[in-house]
Symmetry: C2
Subunit: 86 residues, 2 copies
């Protein structure tokens, strides 16, 4: 629940808190690679974002709170880690 | 521009008109199959929706107007046709 547990770039909203972040990309292929990596991560983790909103050059991700009512900082960090994989 | 040219289930908004439709699915795998088919269609057509918003059981698609300012009814119909492919 601690605010300091929210990863950089993510915004917490509401109670229980959702976490949202906007990921910009230079073009559609890069956007698509991220979406595919995010889908693979979701399937592997068995956790799906509440909503994903995207256009050619960005992806907005919103995560539900965990079952115990906390922001899902762990899943947010795993999504951030996808960026490092290119 | 004719209203009667808008395919069933799509809503036109604004000038130039965007077209939006919500596609419900019974589960995430079905949602994912539709998203993959839509991505393949977009890449093949060289046309990308303005925005796609999705959760586990639905996909909202919004299409930009065509270059001549008309609703993109043709692309909307090609998206509808993906449903028939399962």
């Amino acid at each position: 629940m601690a605010e300091c547990d929210i990863p950089d770039g993510w915004q917490a909203r509401g109670t229980p808190p959702t976490l949202s972040r906007r990921f910009p990309f230079p073009d559609y292929p890069a956007t698509r690679r991220f979406l595919d990596a995010l889908a693979a991560l979701s399937e592997q983790a068995g956790v799906h974002p509440q909503t994903i909103n995207f256009g050619s050059g960005y992806v907005n991700v919103t995560l539900d709170a965990t079952a115990d009512g906390a922001a899902d900082a762990g899943f947010a960090r795993r999504i951030d880690a996808l960026l490092a994989q290119g």
